[in-house]
Amino acid sequence: MRTTRALDGLVLAGLAAFPMLAPGSLDLGARMAILVLCAMSLDLLVGYCGLITLGHAAFFGAGAYAAGIFAVRASADPVAGLVVGGAAAALLGLLSGVVLLRSRRLTLIMLSLATVLIVQEAANRWGGVTGGADGLQGIAMSPLLGRFAFDLSGRVAYVYAATTLAFAFLMFRSLVDSRFGQSLVGIRENEARMHALGTPVGARLRTAFVISAALAGVAGALQAQVTEFVALNAVSVEFSGEILIMLILGGAGRRYGAFLGAPVYVFMQDYLAREDPANWYLWIGLMLLAIVFLAPGGLTAGVAAIARRIRGRRS
């Protein structure tokens, strides 16, 4: 427990220290923070509930579009937009959760893919509002809290994204440590037994689904606000897969998986795609096969194993 506290503090300190450590890469930092938030929201489903979905881009995209449209048509206030994005994604999560959570395994995956395709098609066809295939343009955010204008160095954008992520992490942390979070793990391990124990399994999963969707929507809203643009491929099957890969790379259900996985993925993508853009998919595919056969559990499991070995040697 004490180690967990210390590591939680370390994560937050890392977020705060990033602008000092890498003042030139604040854009990259904001992008990473957004993707960490998105992967973390997926972790609630994949890691804690044991629900494998390929539909998270639907919620990310819904949040991005809602926040973007809100900024263009209603108010350019960032925080209000964040709430709108989260609420839109939560609503989508509520509606789709009712249908999706009746199924498991392959059917759940199929339905989650279908959700992405429905949102994507809606964004594509409703071009008058969403900008269609050209993406949503014309977003111009007003200063954060009425004070801090988004600047070219990306400083405000990073602080904004990192602070949102920090709050989301504190919430995520108390959620997974709570009895509610423990019951989700129980459902993951043995759904029938939790049923028999009297846990309202359906309601718990639907709640987790809505929370996860809302967090992904907040990530999407951040992305729309920071880049002042929403591309149609924010809602794509490929992006859904990428979110899952980031999470798995870090380790699902391991509290810090998203914090490790998303930055490593972004680094790899930047590096490998720059060196060899055509074969990016080959590398990412081989990496997945390597994770499955060599390191199930991802990077955090590897780090934890090393830590255990060091501790074992000491005692």
């Binding site: 249908v99 995956i109 429905i118 080959l282 096969l289």
Partner: protein, 295 residues
């Protein structure tokens, strides 16, 4: 589909095109249904074998001068053998693994195959040159239709009959049914389930390759193929009920007809409506219309 045709003609035409599309979908998905029912393996990469079948067909025709039908048959045999090899080397190790690892493995396989396809054939869709006897239009009594679609329906009917006979009337099929229903029991009465897995996996891959090759005129072969048609294959398998081989035929035909019809009448919203319809069906029947297993 000419605009001024009377309603009956239009409906016949839509049904016809839908059934041709459904026949291809059936070939693409029946193998996955078997894999799920038998091995409980969530193989999202099943479309990779269809894509491979398509590429082998195209390459055999354009580079080795094979005619269309022999090229497709060669593709089915080759890809089937390749599938058996992969099953022995990789898939087998993950039968007992959590579903997450199976999903990751199949996504990895999809990405690798996409990269290889792009490297070997480039990013563009491969044009397939149908022989003259398939490019004609034929009057079959209820209307004039492209010979290619008639051919697809004919092959679909033949294959589904062969699969039905194979599953219901042969010893091999009886072993598959036994293993789907109760794997442990099947093992303890002396069925070699391990060998059964390899053969049925290979046959499923061969059928997918057949669908990929034959259907290349309908579903163009390109590096994004395994992703693009994944959701349709999964819909067929999930609506049928996992492991329900005969159900896969009905589900594929029903989906083909529904998709074609709805898209014709609602060109803008068709895709959304079809997907919502699928969701509604699975909301009513979360395990599909007639599940054989709980995979």
């Amino acid at each position: 589909m000419e605009g001024a045709a009377p309603v009956a003609d239009l409906l016949i035409t839509l049904a016809f095109y839908g059934i041709a599309y459904g026949a291809v979908l059936y070939l693409l998905s029946v193998g996955l249904s078997v894999t799920l029912g038998l091995m409980r393996f969530v193989n999202l990469a099943h479309g990779v074998f269809a894509m491979a079948g398509g590429y082998v067909t195209v390459a055999a025709m354009s580079r080795a001068g094979f005619p269309f039908v022999p090229a497709v048959l060669a593709a089915a045999v080759l890809v089937g053998a390749f599938g058996m090899l992969l099953e022995r080397a990789l898939y087998r190790r993950l039968y007992a693994a959590p579903i997450l690892e199976q999903v990751l493995f199949s996504i990895g396989l999809i990405f690798v195959s996409m990269a290889i396809a792009r490297y070997a054939f480039g990013p563009l869709a491969q044009p397939i040159e149908l022989p003259a006897w398939l490019s004609a239009r034929v009057n079959i009594g209820i209307g004039v239709f492209p010979a290619y679609r008639i051919f697809l329906i004919g092959v679909g009917a033949l294959v589904s009959l062969a699969v039905w006979a194979g599953v219901e009337r042969t010893r091999f099929g009886a072993s598959i049914r036994a293993a789907v229903d109760n794997r442990r029991m099947a093992e303890s009465v002396g069925i070699n389930v391990s060998r059964l897995f390899t053969w049925s996996f290979g046959l499923g891959c061969a059928l997918a390759a057949l669908g990929g090759g034959l259907g290349a005129g309908l579903l163009p072969i390109h590096p994004g193929y395994p992703n693009e048609y994944l959701v349709y294959v999964l819909i067929v398998v999930a609506v049928a009920g996992l492991g329900n081989i005969r159900g896969a035929l009905y589900a594929a035909l029903a989906f083909g007809v529904a998709d074609t019809t709805i898209r014709y009448f609602l060109p803008d919203l068709g895709r959304v409506v079809v997907l919502l319809l699928v969701m509604a069906v699975l909301f009513r029947h979360p395990h599909g219309l007639a599940p054989k297993t709980d995979a």
